[in-house]
Symmetry: C2
Subunit: 580 residues, 2 copies
């Protein structure tokens, strides 16, 4: 191994093995991302109810931290719409947006979320993200998109409106409608039309005239910065912020962020832990799925544990440099990927360029009209409304579709956190409901074979006095009672049964509740002179069953296969059996 490999082992793999051929793509992608995501960063930060400069801070140290720790080659980290909405929704009940207290809470939210990411990574709790099923995530993203768009309408209209709930926002907008600002509306609608045209017409047109797919995509993605430049230019030229009362970003303080080393108090922790948990889970699922989809296109791999560490490092860096929760963003990663980024060096270049911008060019943002930023957000989030998943879920699995709808409607009507908790609860209820109604079949032997099939579907042989019941589900608290009742019904239907054989080929687990049920069932059956037997118990299940009371009592009644149980008719006179 060359000496550099050991001396710089602390450096990430991509940096230690950096190839000159990658540099062109990384540098150009880094610069393009920095320029293109500035409007987005500002807009999402205002959406979170925070001062604009925090969006720029979020694009410096957090980006560096993720680049050095994360596992994706192309994921671009920074302010994203969903995290901004969740931040606003978590903090608005606790403080007034824009106050020092609110800003402090946002930083603490990032800190707690970052520490949770690290804890998930260390404790291997990444599985918590699995609680979010695809229908729940889809419903959550769609509902959030509607919420975000709704919250931006006030900027398009140039009025004030509350954002505590969808109902309050709609009422406020309705009441403020007569005071709306025609110039803001013109700027906002103009930008929206321009953005939609760029997406629907410009990109296909570029493709037709022979521009490559990635270049066409990138050019179409430049539309937001173009609307920002035109909008800012117009307002500055006409001094519309004064003459026509158009709301603008205003002065953004220049210079790097100060270090923030404050820690949340206990009562703050009590208020922020649930939002931080939900932001972390949603952010993890979102970031990993974005990272994975780009990695797959280049035959690369993502290490989920390293993603947790990377997101944790990024959020702690965000909190330390005075900013708020950051995630891997779909649109900024798409720009990065399309612009040819090969390694996280691109992100390091983005961060360096951001330092230049924040040091020298913040006065450029003064005249940036909020209506134009809002137009960019609305067009961006509407592509997140996902009807295809709803349709597919409806066709495939009604319960999943209902979880999706409940989550979306819950987010819009009851709020972001309640909506997602409702969706998770519904998908867990569906899981328990499905598992609580297991498919069960009485089986018999296909003549001349060792195969056993459902007696209701196939012409099979049975042994008098032996009932073989196959349960197509793990046995656990959700279905233990249903199984017990089904067995009692079968036993009462046929008084001649002397052996009940449970075929466990599909039983992957038996939990304590099901074990208790089986133990009682065995005793109750044996009092009635019926012998409980098991067949095809899987290795891991058998290992845990053996030392229990039930396992001891079942000695000699555990068959390797259903066939073995069928031929073992002499066992009924087993001397141990008579005195259980």
């Amino acid at each position: 191994m060359p000496p550099t490999a050991t001396r710089f082992a602390w450096l990430p793999h991509w940096l230690r093995h950096y190839q000159r051929a990658w540099l062109g793509g990384d540098v150009s992608a880094g610069l393009i991302v920095a320029v293109l995501v500035i409007p987005q960063s500002l807009a999402y930060t205002l959406l979170a109810g925070l001062p604009a400069e925090m969006g720029l801070y979020a694009s410096i140290l957090p980006v560096v931290a993720y680049a050095l720790v994360g596992s994706s080659m192309t994921l671009a980290v920074g302010p994203v719409a969903i995290a901004a909405l969740m931040t606003a929704s978590a903090l608005q009940p606790l403080a007034i947006a824009g106050t020092t207290e609110y800003v402090q809470l946002a930083m603490h939210l990032a800190l707690i979320s970052g520490l949770m990411f690290l804890a998930f990574g260390a404790l291997r709790l990444g599985f918590l993200a699995y609680f979010l099923s695809r229908p729940v995530i889809s419903g959550f993203v769609s509902g959030s998109a509607v919420m975000i768009a709704l919250g931006q309408l006030k900027h398009i209209l140039g009025v004030e409106a509350p954002s505590s709930s969808s109902a309050a926002t709609l009422q406020g907008l309705w009441r403020a409608l007569p005071q709306s600002n025609p110039t803001a509306i013109a700027l906002g609608l103009g930008s929206m039309v321009a953005l939609l045209l760029a997406r629907r017409i410009l990109a296909p047109a570029l493709l037709r005239v022979g521009v490559g797919a990635q270049a066409a995509d990138l050019l179409a993605r430049m539309a937001p910065i173009a609307t920002v430049i035109v909008g800012t230019g117009l307002v500055a030229w006409g001094q519309w912020d004064v003459t026509r009362q158009v709301a603008v970003v205003g002065s953004v303080p220049a210079g790097l962020p100060a270090w923030n080393l404050s820690l949340p108090g206990l009562s703050e922790l009590g208020q922020l832990w649930l939002p931080a948990l939900l932001i972390s889970l949603v952010g993890f699922v979102g970031s990993v799925s974005v990272a994975q989809s780009f990695a797959m296109q280049r035959q690369q791999r993502i290490a989920p544990d390293r993603e947790l560490w990377g997101m944790g490092a990024a959020n702690i860096a965000s909190a330390l440099t005075g900013s708020y929760p950051v995630h891997g963003g779909l649109s900024r990663s798409a720009i990065n990927f399309a612009a040819g980024a090969q390694t996280p060096l691109a992100s390091l270049i983005t961060a360096a360029f951001m330092v230049v911008i924040i040091s020298l060019f913040t006065p450029l943002f003064y005249y940036l009209p909020l209506a134009v930023l809002a137009a960019g957000i609305i067009v961006a989030v509407f592509s997140l409304v996902d009807m295809a998943t709803l349709q597919a879920s409806w066709a495939y699995d009604r319960a999943d579709a209902l979880s999706l709808l409940a989550t979306a409607v819950g987010v819009i009507v009851l709020g972001v956190e309640t909506g997602i908790v409702l969706g998770v609860a519904m998908s867990l209820a569906a899981l328990v409901w499905r598992s609580s109604h297991p498919h069960m079949a009485v089986v018999g032997r296909v003549p001349g074979t060792e195969h056993f099939r459902n007696v209701e579907r196939h012409a099979v042989e049975t042994v008098p006095g032996l009932l073989a019941l196959r349960v197509d589900e793990s046995l656990f608290f959700a279905n233990a009672t249903a199984l017990e009742e089904h067995i009692e019904t079968l036993m009462q239907a046929d008084a001649s049964i002397r052996r009940l054989l449970l075929v466990c080929s599909a039983v992957n687990q038996i939990d304590a509740t099901a074990l208790g049920m089986l133990t009682e069932l065995e005793q109750s059956l044996s009092q009635r002179g019926i012998r409980l037997e098991l067949a095809e118990v899987k290795g891991p299940v058998m290992d845990r069953l053996q030392p229990t009371t039930l396992g001891q009592r079942l000695q000699g009644r555990l068959f390797r296969s259903v066939h073995d149980a069928f031929v073992a008719t002499d066992r009924q006179t087993d001397p141990h059996w008579q005195s259980p």
Copy 2:
């Protein structure tokens, strides 16, 4: 069919087919239960923070309603300790115990709980009770027993103490200790010793002198009424309520309850729905398990849906006659069963006798000392503390044991509702965690057979380029990502693989999340020239898979058995495969 069968079809089966032989047992059991459960009913009602007469009301119409609607022959319905504790815990934050408002809330709680029971029955939502696994129920009952005993200590000491939380109760008792009432302590401790002696010494002694087991049990169960008679007699004789400030039940209004037809308002509904849901679920699980254990001893059956209707009718009857939530009680059912009850006629006789008592004999309760009632409660609930289940769970399944402990500690430290919600959340988390780490095995053919086993445990044959992976779990949101990652790892470890065969013999369900993952996996693999195949897909899973995009794309790649897939080596040149 005789004419009576059609004319009286609305009557319960047991009444239409009543046999004279049953009458003796039913009448004597009905009278014995009525007398023996009076102290219990009064005590639990005081524990719920309600006036004593409500405990008597709860033993009239609710008992009649359950007798006519329920399916158990021996379950005795009425006030029970856990429901009383849950009522107190739900209402104490909302109103001051003993006020008209508090009493009204208790009736509304019974009404909402009763309607929930009916709704569960009508919508077949009884499966919601399955969310309560045995460890959670065991932890909940043990924790509640500690809470109940703790709350009764103030009556033994003859002092006042808050009951808002365990910590507050302990602090209050500690501070009030110097003011404790020696007579109350003497009465309380005396009763406790008498009760423990009756249970530990009287019953075994009776058995030894030749009394039958059921009669001995019944005589031992008479101990509480004996302590009540002695205690009441002592206080009345010495006028200790005045001379020694011993707290007594006091005057209980005579006469039947008035009809209560008030309905809860919307805001009240918002406060009561969760406690009502938890009371209903806990009550349903408790009542059904008690009913089932007695039914099994006589080879009878319980119909869970009719139990829901019966509990619903009982609780609505309770609300209408000015009382609070009632459930099937273990100790009153045990008395009923031991005293020879054959049918619910016994309960009807209990109710009729209760009408006599409430009309004529309420002055007898005046001098009943609270310390004696508290002693009865403490001794009764301590038998509910269940260490055996904790030990068994700890040995069998650490996650289940932790759910049990979390529920018990949660109930004691954080309160009844938080404790049970915590336990349910933990058992669901354990379920998702287990399912998210499925057992997966690469399998090969046992030479000379059609059996396939784990390549790591057995000497088996494999086909070059074919990887057969068996997943021992249903595929759903909790393990879709884990499976995808495992497959990617396997694919990267062996670049020669051209066919990936998923063996689905243990896959009982595929949800929308897993379907989405498989659809993407199939596309990603096919881009890399790898063919995804499935084998041994179960009928119900196949039925839903077939019409999906994935099902369409997999045509010709779905094998009945692993063996079929192994021999189908020529399929690799299937013309459809080259252009997916």
